[in-house]
Symmetry: C2
Subunit: 341 residues, 2 copies
């Protein structure tokens, strides 16, 4: 897209968010524990409890295609990406409101399917839809979910607690969702069977609620974020909010056989998906070195791999990728950026 | 719009909402005091306090035109319509999250103006923006606001408390906003000066927060709603939720000179705006006859007219308009309906 200094595309999503943040100073109320700039806002309810609040807007043909995802999957996905933000603070989802801008010729079966998916996804956490708003649009289908959650204030994990010397962990693995998305773009719904698990990761992301709450309750994590923008970009978010640098060891970052095969089939570098592909909804978190045993205990409890993939550096260390041969390169924060990609 | 039994346009906005309501049974949690089907959802925070939560999605060229409203007015409006929903429960706004789907060529000055308007509108109530989400769209600009508010549970006023014999009141007057919208549609921004107050009512609605909270705290109202869909449609919402009928006296419904003049200039019946025009954001409420003096005291305190325009009937009384000559006609609930109008 051609940049124009007078339009929003000149700033990109993160530039726009920073602009808003400057215009909306937090701390006007002592009840705002976390305002703009983290996975969710955090509001004090009483001395011990906080309300989490987040939203995520998804636009047809930007975030999803009705041709390559079922209505139920789309509904689940719209909820899952918000639930993931709640999980990234260490919280549990409670209630959602749903806004939709609907093209009038949307099939009723699609509408019903989307809400059935939303309901089913929320039910997995005993969470529910309590309101919303429907409007007509002349453009693409837009689904916007507002999700609330709860957390004990003492368990809250933000993006800004990482300290030099902390280890960097991820749950599960990255790259599958963006590789699956690339498969759908290339082959449509008639994709090769061997890519099915990546396509499923894209269509049906699983938010890491049990992992997030267990990590948070253990007190082991110093900072946490969910991987929505891509590993490189989301690590950069933690570094910026914590005012630290980081190094990530490429050899330690898990890469599934499927992602390798997709990269090979599409003539793409694996890194493209693993470092810069977004929408994995895994958790990226930091912890003191002495917490390693505790984290592996949690990984066992949850049945989810939690791999140490890097280390937090002082701010002047930059954000580096250590390649397999030891070469250090800048890890450009080139993940999803909705206005310039 | 042509109806098609297989698309959402066959059901209309209210039909779709009823469909969702059936699919999302409330009461799965004792914390949900009010779920889908009122101005806002109401969540119990503790024995005495509740959280209000609502959202309102606005689509370019459906709800607003960038050609006929300034960015600041648009931002204020997006907040005001949500604040009005909070006021209709008797509550005060506290925090908002904002989602936007942005065309990449949107001028940065427009983006900044919208947020400046939002910030200014919230600041009037010492309320603030604490989060949001921005995405790219290939279609029209979409602004979705998620608004939270607070209320003492004992002061809550819903749509379902109206009882036969109650009087029906409105604050201010209706029809100005829809008449102002019609003026903009007809003349563009070069409209005759004498229509300016109606255009302003459309561009810059004022939510009735002081009125709503004062009415709620007095305990005088049995049911309340804000006029977003139009007087006829919103009265029908109260009647349906309260399982009652109603009669409204046309001669008692205030109609400004401006609305009469606009109706005359555009060859339209006044009723079109007063009964069926939406987006007035006045409050429509019901109260026992013995509360009349208290309501006039509140009107004086707020400096806002509160006029008695009708009476609640038993359910079999239907919803009637009593014309100036005493003729009783059905008051069709033909206000805004985003999918069939």
């Amino acid at each position: 897209m051609k940049e124009n200094r007078d339009t929003i595309s000149s700033l990109g999503e993160f530039g726009l968010i920073e602009r808003l943040r400057a215009a909306c100073p937090e701390g006007s109320s002592p009840d705002v524990i976390v305002g703009i700039g983290d996975d969710t806002a955090v509001l004090r309810l009483d001395d011990r409890h906080a309300l989490l609040a987040t939203c995520d807007i998804q636009v047809q043909d930007v975030h999803f295609r009705l041709e390559t995802i079922s209505p139920e999957q789309l509904g689940r996905r719209a909820m899952a990406v918000n639930i993931s933000d709640i999980a990234a603070m260490g919280g549990s989802p409670t209630y959602a409101l749903v806004s939709m801008a609907l093209p009038p010729d949307l099939p009723l079966a699609t509408f019903d399917g989307i809400f059935e998916g939303m309901r089913a996804q929320m039910a997995e956490y005993s969470a529910g839809m309590i309101g919303g708003n429907l409007a007509r649009t002349t453009g693409p289908l837009v689904i916007d979910v507002f999700m609330m959650g709860r957390i004990a204030i003492g368990h809250l994990v933000t993006r800004h607690g990482a300290r030099p010397g902390d280890d960097i962990y991820i749950t599960g693995e990255t790259g599958r969702s963006s590789a699956g998305c690339a498969v759908l773009d290339k082959y449509g719904v008639s994709f090769p069977d061997e890519f099915a698990d990546a396509v499923l990761a894209h269509r049906r992301p699983v938010p890491r609620v049990k992992e997030g709450t267990t990590i948070a309750q253990s007190g082991a994590a110093t900072a946490m974020i969910d991987l929505s923008d891509g590993l490189a970009a989301d690590l950069a978010h933690i570094c910026r909010e914590s005012n630290v640098g980081a190094e990530m060891y490429e050899a330690k970052i898990p890469c599934s056989t499927t992602v390798r095969e997709i990269a090979s089939a599409l003539g793409e570098n694996c890194r493209h998906y693993i470092l810069y592909g977004g929408e994995d909804y895994e958790l990226l978190f930091t912890a003191r070195p002495e917490a390693e045993q505790e984290i592996q205990r949690i990984a066992g409890v949850c049945g989810t791999p939690m791999r140490k993939i890097g280390r937090i550096l002082p701010p002047d260390g930059g954000i580096k990728l250590v390649e397999a041969d030891g070469t250090r390169v800048d890890l450009h924060a080139a993940g999803w950026n909705h206005f310039t990609v």
